[in-house]
């Protein structure tokens, strides 16, 4: 059978030489290596809360519900995100836009309640792809930790983008 790579490791079963059996030279070599790390190598730790590793361009973090250029919520509560969600993390209740609310919601229907269970969410990004209104994006930070399960169900208060300031 052909090997997958050309790497070969020849097994060496020769008995150890006296130098190797003396053991101490090997120990001294090993200890000099660790000492080199102790003295000269910089630590690789990123001190997390104070220091953050940069995310990649396509990092998927916490969701945000977007507003359009006039500051109206884009979401029309069609439910495609909830349908596409493999973890069934998204629930919503829709409502009809009343006259006089045109400056709040772009479409005639909007999500009165929009909840994402962050413990269920697997951050796959399918909701983002399913959305026909470009209303949801996973462009946020890491979801912060908490103590109670109920605090991981994020409502509109946490998800909707901050309103535009004219």
């Amino acid at each position: 059978m052909e090997s997958l790579s050309n790497k070969k490791k020849v097994v060496d079963n020769r008995p150890l030489s006296l130098w190797e059996r003396a053991y101490l030279p090997a120990i001294i070599r090993g200890m000099s290596i660790t000492m080199k790390h102790y003295l000269f190598t910089k630590d690789v730790t990123i001190r997390y809360p104070e220091q953050k590793r940069e995310f990649s361009e396509n990092f998927r973090g916490m969701h945000s519900l977007k507003r359009d250029e006039d500051g109206r919520e884009r979401c029309t509560a069609c439910g495609l995100c909830a349908l596409s969600c493999p973890a069934e993390a998204i629930t919503m209740i829709s409502a009809e836009r009343q006259p006089g609310e045109e400056h709040l919601y772009r479409e005639e229907k909007y999500a009165a309640v929009y909840e994402i269970n962050m413990l269920r969410c697997i951050f796959c990004g399918l909701c983002e792809e399913a959305c026909p209104k470009e209303a949801i994006y996973l462009d946020g930070d890491i979801v912060p930790s908490d103590y109670l399960r109920k605090d991981f169900i994020y409502g509109k208060d946490k998800l909707v983008e901050a309103p535009l300031n004219q």
């Binding site: 090993g30 200890m31 660790t34 790390h37 102790y38 190598t41 910089k42 690789v44």
Partner: protein, 341 residues
């Protein structure tokens, strides 16, 4: 003895106990820091600046944890085990000369709790008692992992005590005394025993690693094979005692090595600086502690470098290498002493 002397001794004992406990406490912190630096990490840095309060947090945690005594264990022995381990670890420091005499007013205070003329033997006695704590704890747990750990500890300590004793005999041949105080005094100037007994020191330090159950000889608690070894069943402060006694043992054996081989409280040019006696004594104590800390660092350095021995390798090294070497060392020392002196 006058009352004043008794009080002075008592204070000295309390101070030494406190120091050895604090050193042991901060050894746990140092160990984690040192391990981190060897592995290019940071180590504990959350509790206080640079994580300086980490040992306190650990200690508090030990006290607050649930105390479990297994139903099928021998409850009495289960408690005796860790108590014995930490007690024997602590009393070893009694014969170590921490410094010369300190003169306060008319009182001359020797910085040594007990200058007994068999100091070295006392140390050996205490060290070999130390294994009883582990054995009793492992046996009382009624758990096969604990028992295996205890058996390993016992056989390992017995094997390495022989080599250790033999290496000390060669040292005693050159010093001619068993009193640690006199041994320390003899090493004044540059007459450190390491110069005369390099092989003896090598054997001694290897055996010290084995006696304190430190890596690479930490088979009694080897977690890859035995879960936690002899302290598998222990929790709360009883576990803390076992872990603590290891660090106190490390401190005491570092002190013994510094005293026996590295000149104890002697430091270079100690009498040519023109300082008063008390200052020389205090500097001597500091010098001894620097040596001790260097040894503790060495213990940690070895631990985070060398992988654990296999059990048969451990026995091979003990019986087939160290004991013949130690005997050869005695013979060579004897020959050299006959022909040179």
């Amino acid at each position: 003895m006058e009352t004043a002397d008794i009080i002075i001794k008592f204070v000295l004992i309390v101070i030494i106990f406190t120091i050895s406990l604090v050193v042991a406490m901060y050894s746990t912190y140092a160990e984690r820091k040192v391990a981190a630096f060897f592995q290019d990490r940071v180590g504990p840095n959350r509790a206080g600046p640079f994580g300086i309060f980490q040992p306190l947090a650990d200690g508090a945690k030990f006290f607050l944890k649930e105390e479990i005594i297994p139903t099928n264990s021998n409850a009495f022995l289960f408690i005796v085990g860790p108590s014995l381990a930490i007690m024997t670890a602590c009393i070893g420091s009694a014969v170590i000369p921490w410094g010369q005499t300190l003169t306060i007013g008319t009182h001359k205070i020797p910085l040594q709790v007990a200058d007994i003329n068999v100091g070295v033997l006392y140390i050996f006695g205490v060290v070999s008692l130390g294994v009883y704590g582990i054995m009793i704890g492992g046996w009382a747990s009624n758990n096969k992992y604990s028992l295996l750990g205890a058996i390993r500890a016992a056989s390992q300590n017995i094997s390495y005590e022989i080599a250790m004793g033999l290496s000390i005999i060669a040292l005693l041949m050159t010093t001619g005394t068993l009193s640690l105080k006199e041994i320390a005094e003899q090493q004044h100037g540059w007459h450190w025993n390491i110069v005369y007994q390099p092989l003896g020191f090598l054997i001694f330090i290897i055996c010290a690693f084995a006696e304190t159950n430190r890596a690479p000889f930490d088979l009694p608690e080897c977690e890859t094979e035995l879960v936690g070894g002899y302290h598998t069943e222990y929790s709360s402060m009883k576990l803390g005692f076992y872990l603590f006694s290891e660090y106190i043992n490390m401190f005491v054996s570092s002190a013994v090595m510094a005293t026996l081989y590295f000149g104890g409280y002697n430091f270079p040019f100690m009498h040519s600086l023109g300082l008063s006696e008390n200052w020389v004594t205090i500097l001597g104590v500091i010098a001894l502690f620097i040596k001790i800390f260097a040894f503790i660092f060495f213990f940690m350095w070895v631990r985070w470098t060398i992988p654990r021995f296999r059990y048969d390798q451990l026995m091979d090294l003990g019986w087939k290498t160290l004991i013949p070497l130690a005997i050869a060392n005695i013979v060579i020392t004897g020959i050299v002493m006959t022909f040179i002196k």
